[in-house]
């Protein structure tokens, strides 16, 4: 009997100790970070420049549809800024300022201001935390803001619940058009940082109440800082070289009349011949299929000669777009943003080993390479009508 009692009381005692949970943390105590913005801080006294981290927290009650007569529209987010030297440290400080512990499992977007990105070696240091921390996922999108990164989080979005989600959906939805730089996610960023290759990150701008993705920030791999910007025109050329576009338009002139070519599919083939490392030959071949989207003239399009002329004009404007960005990359930014280095590494790895250090840096072999472009355009159809105006009108 005594033994039975003893074992019974032992079981009851175990129950008390086993029912606890060390990591018990009510969900209300968590602050779900959905966006992080990184700016250059104002304090320049120490050797490493200080950084301001602005986290956008989701406020769950703002996401639900307000009940009838309820408190109206509650904001679905809350921004909080902290300045410091390390991101991890700022993160700690943030939990001191609020009752919430920031957790990053649902982080969607990182915004880095161009001012911060232009600092020497700062970019990889500030994103380190987002690649290292175990809470981070590897699909976080990263953008560069033209103005301060914080200002991106301050606009009031019309169609999305929070600014971070708004930017995220902008980045998500226009990935394959010719006008914008495809979104960059941390998994790819990590690869490029480790490979020391140069890369382009989309730039976002605040325009009134809206946010626009326009152009890209060029990062120099070895130096790890932003060295320039792609404008809208250069972005088109960049995207054409990278290929895999299935949307967007190219404007060109035929007989002094504007015509619009709508891209449906592109493919680009890059052939590299590194026989002579001081004069690497790069051939870019682009095939595009698409249709005429709009024309200002009044000539009939159902005419082989005229179509040939149109095709030739499109080819010319494509080659111009590409040569423009290529020559700028070679002369102004002096970095290979097109991924030729990866191509060299995978198809000429023997040669590549000898020139690896001299491609983007050192002897800057990229700037000495000879780049040729050729393009082939197919006109799939001309729309549902041939002409919309008679030739009499001018």
């Amino acid at each position: 009997m005594a033994r039975r009692l003893l074992s019974c009381s032992f079981l009851v005692l175990t129950m008390i100790f086993l029912s606890g949970c060390w990591d018990e943390n009510p969900i209300e105590n968590f602050g779900f970070v959905i966006g992080s913005a990184l700016d250059l801080g104002e304090d320049h006294s120490s050797e490493t420049p200080s950084v301001t981290l602005t986290n956008q927290f989701a406020v769950p009650s703002g996401f639900t549809v307000p009940s009838q007569g309820g408190g109206g529209n509650q904001q679905a987010y809350k921004n909080l800024s902290v300045t410091g030297n390390s991101v991890f440290h700022m993160n700690r400080d943030m939990s001191k300022e609020t009752s919430l512990t920031p957790i990053y499992d649902h982080l969607k977007l990182i915004v880095v201001s161009s001012e911060l990105a232009q600092q020497e070696k700062m970019f990889s240091s500030v994103v380190d935390f987002f690649l290292r921390d175990h809470e981070m996922r590897r699909g976080i999108r990263i953008v560069v803001s033209e103005s301060s990164a914080k200002s991106i989080f301050d606009i009031v979005p019309k169609y999305e619940k929070t600014p971070a989600l708004y930017v995220n959906s902008i980045m998500k939805n226009n990935t394959k058009t010719i006008e914008v730089i495809p979104s960059v996610r941390t998994a790819k960023l990590h690869r490029d940082l480790l490979n020391k290759s140069s890369f382009v990150i989309p730039i976002v701008k605040v325009k009134g109440e809206e946010i626009k993705s326009e152009g890209g920030a060029i990062f120099n791999g070895p130096n790890n800082k932003m060295v320039g910007k792609l404008n809208a025109f250069e972005t088109k050329g960049y995207n054409l070289i990278k290929g895999k576009i299935n949307g967007g338009v190219i404007n060109f002139q035929v007989d002094d009349q504007l015509m619009v070519y709508e891209i449906e599919d592109t493919s680009s083939k890059v052939k590299i011949n590194p026989e002579n490392p001081d004069q690497v030959k790069i051939d870019i071949k682009i095939e595009i299929s698409g249709s005429v989207g709009e024309m200002f003239g009044h000539k009939t399009l159902i005419n082989e000669d005229y179509q040939k002329e149109i095709k030739q004009k499109i080819e010319e404007s494509i080659e111009e777009l590409i040569m423009n960005v290529v020559s700028k990359a070679q002369q102004e930014w002096k970095v290979d943003i097109f991924g030729f280095d990866q191509k060299l590494k995978s198809s000429h790895s023997g040669k590549w080993r000898g020139m690896e250090g001299d491609w983007n840096a050192g002897k800057q072999l990229f700037t000495k390479s000879v780049i040729n472009v050729s393009s082939q355009v197919t006109l799939e159809h001309i729309g549902s009508t041939d002409r919309t105006k008679d030739r009499g009108v001018k």
Partner: protein, 367 residues
């Protein structure tokens, strides 16, 4: 208190075929891609993994063939006939020590990984102890119970490895896989060494004794190796194709990161990794439980005692103590590596020793 008694302690050949992959798939599967990738370039490591699988399959077949010549004889019995009793005892002692070390390593790694990804406040000691107690409970029962758990878990483990692979396909890029065949021969060999994934066939020395008629066993267990081979191959290919070689060799647990990368459209399931953890803890549990069980079995064999519960409870503190010895992640992984290599080469050494001496002394099996 009396525990529930299963009908028998026999193993069917199918159970043994499943036991082998269950024992092999453990913590190593989570970090294996890093170790192989850091020795090779591009996707070349996959050849190392496959070669390692073939080598292990061959050794498994040979071991099974040899052991099945002594049906229903315990290791001590047939080892004594081959190399005399004192040596057999020493060999078994070392086997027991290895199994204890393997169990301890699995327990410790599980606690470490859990602390990184799941519960950052819980002390490692507490997490290890709870996991160990569950293992003790499983081993305290019948061996058939552990085998049934193996059978039950392995389909889930296979399915989830495939899910992790296929749901990441949109991340795959051809340029991550190239350049192919650029690794020098040393790299391949290094990669092969690192993808030996535990000399899993070590369990055959003891478990074949429980198979009623081990005639087909060599064939069956060799088939069993296919499971880890396919699984490790797809996990490796998945990591390289999604991350590229250079990132994979820098991630501490590439397989976990691969599971974390999954995005199911619509946001129904944002955190797929939590499910992956549940499944993989089951895999680690199987490995640890079997290693523990084998240690118990070895001691039982040496002491000729039937009191299984006493042995189970008395080695628990030893396992726990060994699991707590490494002070940091680096030491844990060194511990794991050493245990893996030693058990692999020890098993080969014992096999060679037995084959040669059995031939020399004319010891014949009775099967």
């Amino acid at each position: 208190m009396t525990g529930f008694q299963y009908a028998d302690e026999q193993l069917s050949e199918r159970e043994l075929m499943i036991a082998l992959p269950s024992f092999m798939i453990g913590v190593e599967a989570l970090s294996m891609p890093r170790e192989v990738a850091s020795a090779t370039t591009g996707l070349d490591g996959v050849f190392s993994v496959i070669a390692a699988g073939v080598v292990v399959a061959g050794l498994t077949w040979w071991t099974a063939k040899f052991v099945s010549k002594f049906p229903r004889e315990s290791f001590l019995t047939y080892a004594s006939r081959i190399v005399t009793k004192p040596i057999a005892c020493i060999l078994s002692l070392f086997f027991i020590f290895l199994f204890v070390a393997i169990a301890a390593y699995q327990v410790r790694s599980l606690a470490d990984i859990g602390k990184i990804y799941l519960f950052d406040q819980t002390p490692i000691e507490v997490a290890s102890l709870s996991f160990l107690l569950i293992i003790v409970y499983a081993v305290g029962g019948s061996r058939a119970g552990i085998m049934r758990i193996n059978m039950l878990f392995i389909p889930f483990i296979i399915i989830f490895a495939f899910v992790v692979f296929f749901f990441n396909i949109n991340w795959f890029e051809v340029k991550h896989v190239t350049p192919l065949f650029q690794t020098d021969i040393n790299g391949y060999i290094k990669g092969l060494g690192r993808s030996i994934f535990f000399g899993g066939f070590i369990i055959l020395w003891f478990y074949i004794a429980y198979v009623e008629n081990p005639k087909d066993t060599p064939k069956m267990v060799t088939k069993g190796i296919l499971i880890p081979l396919v699984l490790f191959t797809i996990l490796y290919v998945g990591c390289i194709a999604a991350y590229s070689n250079v990132v994979t060799s820098n991630l501490i647990y590439p397989t976990i990161e691969l599971a974390k990368m999954i995005e199911i459209p619509g946001g129904i399931l944002e955190r797929f990794d939590s499910i992956f953890f549940v499944i993989w803890i089951m895999a680690i549990f199987n490995t640890a439980a079997m290693a523990y069980d084998l240690a118990v079995l070895g001691i039982q064999m040496l002491l000729k005692r039937k009191g299984k519960k006493t042995i189970v409870l008395s080695i628990a503190p030893v396992v726990f103590f060994i699991a707590m010895l490494p002070r940091n992640l680096l030491e844990v992984s060194t511990f794991g590596e050493v245990t893996g290599y030693v058990s692999f080469y020890y098993s080969i050494a014992v096999l060679l020793l037995f084959v040669i001496i059995a031939k020399f002394r004319g010891v014949k099996g009775n099967g």
